[in-house]
Amino acid sequence: MTKFCSLKDAIGTHVRPGMTVAFEGFTHLIPHAAAHETIRQGIGDLTLIRMTPDVIYDQMIGMGLVRKVVFSYAGNPGVGLLRRLRDAVENAWPRPLEIEEHSHAAMANAYEAGAAGLPMAVFRGYLGAGLKAVNPNIRSVTCPFTGEELAAVPAIRPDVSIIHAQKADKQGNVLIEGIVGVQKEAVLSARAAIVTVEEVVERLDAHPNACVLPHWTLDAIVEVPGGAHPSYAHGYYDRDNAAYLEWDQIAADRDAFKEWMQRHVLDADEAIFATRANRIVGAA
């Protein structure tokens, strides 16, 4: 196995300007450290996919690295709006941002279809909803048995998917536990997949039906303790709600944002994540 590597190498090898990239994690296990490394390497012109863009996409958008975002809920969970995303959509700062907007059901189904190797997802959705009129990627198929018209959206097929997980074993099999979100689907729908993990262990000792990604479905594995902070890693550390509240202040102002990014991302490295997560381990 040569797939264990540094975060720098993982991002540098697999993520290229202009690519379509999904950083997934549904509230839980959001790959913050990997997003920061992508920002440090200045990899731009990206199309980012994510159900809930959250703070990491606010940061990448604010840094001007994003051409387009595909999403279903662009909020700071439990706090409010994403101010850098808003600034990009409303004022084209620092550059115009193209958006492709879906519902959660559509995105979840589209990841599922991508993992399943299908060209599209079919579901009962968007009934009476306005997105149908503004998103040409929402179409329909007719059931040949009942005549019911169902919604269809293209399968999601990222160039690269990036997730954070609890553990990898020495072979590179990865365990995700707790709120598993769409991470398995994100990995299986992508052409390449990078996983950051809290720790590498000898054996996973997982429940037979636990969510495990076999090593041969992954392209790079990096041990980054605390790599999900201020999101959380079930069994390791809690969600840092204060950091989410604080982000609302930072992102409210372009200069405050740039200063924060310089200090905490551009002038830092992934080692700071362990320190940050450790601060809130007590509550886990």
């Binding site: 549904f26 509230t27 839980h28 159900m51 809930t52 999403f71 279903s72 809920y73 662009a74 909020g75 969970p77 439990g78 709006l81 994403l82 995303l85 808003r86 959509v89 409303e90 907007e101 519902s103 959660h104 059901a105 979840a108 189904n109 990841y111 599922e112 579901f123 009962r124 959705g125 968007y126 009934l127 009476g128 909803a129 306005g130 997105l131 503004v134 019911e148 018209e149 707790g178 709120i179 598993v180 979100g181 769409v182 398995k184 689907e185 969510c211 959380y232 079930h234 809690d238 969600r239 840092d240 709600n241 204060a242 989410y244 509240l245 601060r279 809130i280 007590g282 509550a283 886990a284």
Partner: protein, 259 residues
Amino acid sequence: MTGFSPDEMMTVAAARALSSRDVCFVGIGAPSAACNLARLTHAPDITLIYESGTIGTAPQVLPLSIGDGELCDTAVTTVPVPEMFRYWLQGGRITVGFLGAAQLDRFGNINTTVVGDYNAPKVRLPGGGGAPEIASSSQQIFITMKQSKRSFVPKIDFFTSFGHGNGGSHRQDLGITTAGPSLLVTDMAVWRPDPVTKEFTVISLHPGVTLQDMADTVGWTIRYSDAMTETPAPTAEELEVLRALKARTQAAHNREVAS
């Protein structure tokens, strides 16, 4: 209106509409407080589902996000998000879906997408998340939110999720088989749709609320039920349980921030 806040009255009134037989798709904020209050009072066997995949959860404190760890720790099971939307929501198992809104019209149509034009918005809001399909796949929809002229509008800027459309049979005309918005609980009143026109109609005013208060906070001409009553004030038990829940929540979140 002494002894309780409008916010407490809103939560209590919403909680009362739930029973132990309900399976609720819960949103964050007011819905989460109402659902957990119901669970801690008259509906101990209610099933609470959060879109993060946690089924049958029973948190000690209110979560800040729909994916907090305690939701998983206390759940009967936690499933992947695609399964949540396919088997549990689309599968028709949700008896009550809770929604809030940035803008709401009198037919229960909801906007949480944009203020202004979609392609050049004045305010870009978070968007729909699960709402478009919660609105169509849940057996019925409860809406809970505070009244204001900014949010209770004659015409919403964007149809994030469909309520009763233009009213009447509009919902069925689109092939939607579920009941749609059947309850609106605000900080001032309890509303239910008229059986025929589907326009939200006030069925009870919370204690102390005046018709002027109503007119000042709603952007359309309000219909009142002929049988309108006063919402029963929160009982001592309801208030006690709700306040204890909020106090535990505050303490827990402060501890997290402090540590």
